[in-house]
């Protein structure tokens, strides 16, 4: 799949934003205007920038409002509805908390649950697609939720550290736990992905054309000599070297570095710069992870173009 920048930014930032919102809604954090204002703003900023980025992806943005209409059947519509409701509830919750100093726990809880539901709906946009067997798994929402929470906890720990709250250490410890959980899910996802193929999903070139029953099928001529929308969008191919490099970046920046930095912060000293660096590196790692999430995923349509097939050409078999 084409790794569109807008969609990568959307899923990554909104994941962290809603993760942080969930934590704040549940009452994690410390009293004090400094922390509360900054945490609320950061949560909103991540979520809203992410959501705006997703709008950039739309070709006819003026009709985006219609996206709220099909929540009964469409995960994308549900995502839209949930995100707006979450932002609204969390907004009221935050306004009341910030301006009146009253924490409406039930409202916060509802916002927290909705924030997680929003992340879940985002993940289901991908996980629902049978056309992309890499994505079509319950592990996909687990990964999205895991990274949302891990990113949220990491951001929370950094915010706590900045505002000098002692609980930052504890938060950093929780961030380490959340990172382990999230990356465990991702490891499972990667393991599954490595064993997933279009052929095994019944979407290889032989099943796509129905000609597999006659023999080994390979494309002879594409319908058009220059690339088209389908190929640009769904027949993206990433080089093996590039994928490996990006996976290293994802793990190093998204897992190892924030884990070590959080560890340092938790056990050596809750230095705000350490945790801020952890958040930034984690974000970089997440962008790489999400880029690979799209770029390595193979869409059934690629089969018609002979892209994403694990079956070798007949000639090299013979050779």
């Amino acid at each position: 799949m084409h790794p569109a920048f807008s969609v990568i930014v959307f899923t990554t930032l909104s994941g962290i934003g809603f993760g942080l919102m969930a934590l704040l809604g549940l009452g994690f954090g410390v009293p004090g205007a400094g922390f509360q204002w900054s945490a609320t703003i950061v949560a909103f900023a991540f979520a809203v920038i992410g959501l705006l980025s997703s709008v950039l992806h739309l070709r006819s943005k003026s009709r985006a409002i219609l996206a709220f209409s099909q929540w009964r059947s469409s995960w994308l519509s549900r995502e839209g509805v949930c995100s707006v409701v979450t932002l609204g509830l969390f907004g009221i919750y935050s306004l009341v908390l910030l301006l009146m100093g009253t924490r409406l726990a039930a409202l916060g809880f509802a916002a927290a649950v909705l924030a997680m539901v929003t992340v879940f709906t985002t993940s289901m946009i991908y996980a629902q697609l049978r056309t992309v067997p890499h994505w079509a798994s319950w592990i996909t929402p687990a990964v999205f939720l895991g990274f949302s929470i891990a990113g949220g906890v990491l951001a929370l720990s950094a915010l706590l550290a900045i505002s000098g709250a002692p609980s930052a250490r504890m938060a950093a410890q929780w961030a380490m736990v959340a990172l382990i959980v999230a990356w465990a899910a991702k490891a499972a996802w990667w393991r599954r992905a490595a064993e997933t193929s279009l052929e095994a999903a019944g979407s290889g070139i032989g099943d796509a054309t129905g000609l597999g029953v006659l023999g080994a099928v390979r494309p002879f001529e594409p319908p058009h000599t220059s690339p088209n929308y389908l190929m640009r969008e769904m027949a993206f191919e990433v080089g093996r070297k590039r994928a490996r490099a990006l996976r290293r970046i994802a793990i190093a920046c998204g897992a190892v570095a924030p884990f070590l930095l959080a560890g340092l912060a938790a056990y050596v000293g809750a230095a705000a710069p350490l945790l801020m660096l952890a958040v930034i590196l984690h974000l970089v790692g997440m962008l790489a992870e999400r880029w690979l999430f799209f770029a390595e995923a193979r869409h059934a349509v690629g089969s018609f173009y002979g892209i994403g097939q694990s079956v070798a050409r007949p000639s090299s078999q013979a050779a």
């Binding site: 219609l66 209409s69 099909q70 519509s77 019944g202 594409p222």
Partner: protein
């Protein structure tokens, strides 16, 4: 309208005969030509005379090389367009209600006035049937020429999709696949018409008729390729004398 109708009264669709398709692209271009001027926004082309020309098409003709266990590789031409699935995933993923399946005849359409161009339906479709129009910013797909097949302003015999009307090899057939007595249903039954990627669970309405088996030419000397007519006995042209005698009534 992104939920699918429970059932549709009719299942209008195409049957594509891979045994006679010569891969001439006539259907693809006729489709482009009709639909650029008909339903919805024109099918635009970008960089039309430039280095990377690319446009919106609702039907594209692939060709494949199929190598059987024995015998030489054969070429199969393969037109690909919307299959108007009964369980059309492109419809249910649509967040705006632009995508819908008509209850009356099962045609899957995009209401362009509601389409925000998110592209998710194209992702949901395993068949590459949907293409974003880069000029209009809306999703385009085969309409089964809904503006031809009921069009009272054109002659009755022309009320078929543009691709069917133009196909020089008569490889494309249009009809109601819900009616077991229809020509298309009979064709599917007789020829073993099949679904593309059945594992996707989309239950396509369009069917493909497989290529008929070929005679492999590669039968070696003295092998199965002996002439079915034996050499007549007698002299080299003994048969000629007899033939002339018969003709002359001798």
């Amino acid at each position: 309208m992104t939920t699918l109708p429970e059932t549709t009264n009719r299942k209008l669709g195409l049957v594509i005969d891979l045994d006679v398709c010569v891969g001439c692209h006539a259907c693809a271009v006729a489709c482009k030509e009709w639909n650029t001027g008909a339903y919805g926004a024109p099918l635009s082309d970008q960089d039309a005379y430039g280095a990377e020309p690319s446009g919106t098409w609702l039907n594209r003709v692939h060709s494949y090389e199929v190598k059987p266990q024995d015998g030489p590789a054969q070429i199969v031409h393969f037109p690909r367009s919307c299959l108007h699935c009964e369980d059309a995933p492109c419809v249910t993923v649509c967040p705006t209600g632009a995508s819908y399946k008509r209850a009356e005849d099962g045609i899957v359409l995009v209401n362009e006035d509601r389409c925000m161009g998110c592209g998710l339906c194209a992702w949901a479709c395993p068949y590459g049937a949907r293409e974003m129009d880069m000029d209009a910013g809306v999703m385009k797909k085969c309409t089964l020429c809904v503006d031809r097949i009921y069009n009272a302003q054109i002659p009755a015999e022309d009320r078929v999709p543009s691709c069917v009307r133009t196909c020089p090899a008569n490889a494309r057939h249009f009809g109601d696949l819900a009616d077991p007595e229809s020509d298309v249903s009979r064709m599917v039954a007789e020829r073993g018409g099949y679904d593309l990627m059945p594992a996707q669970g989309t239950r396509p309405v369009n069917k493909y008729l497989p290529p008929r088996p070929k005679t492999p030419c590669e039968t070696g000397p003295g092998g199965a390729g002996e002439a079915s007519v034996a050499t007549p006995p007698g002299s080299l042209l003994g048969w000629l004398d007899r033939a002339l005698a018969v003709i002359d009534g001798e």
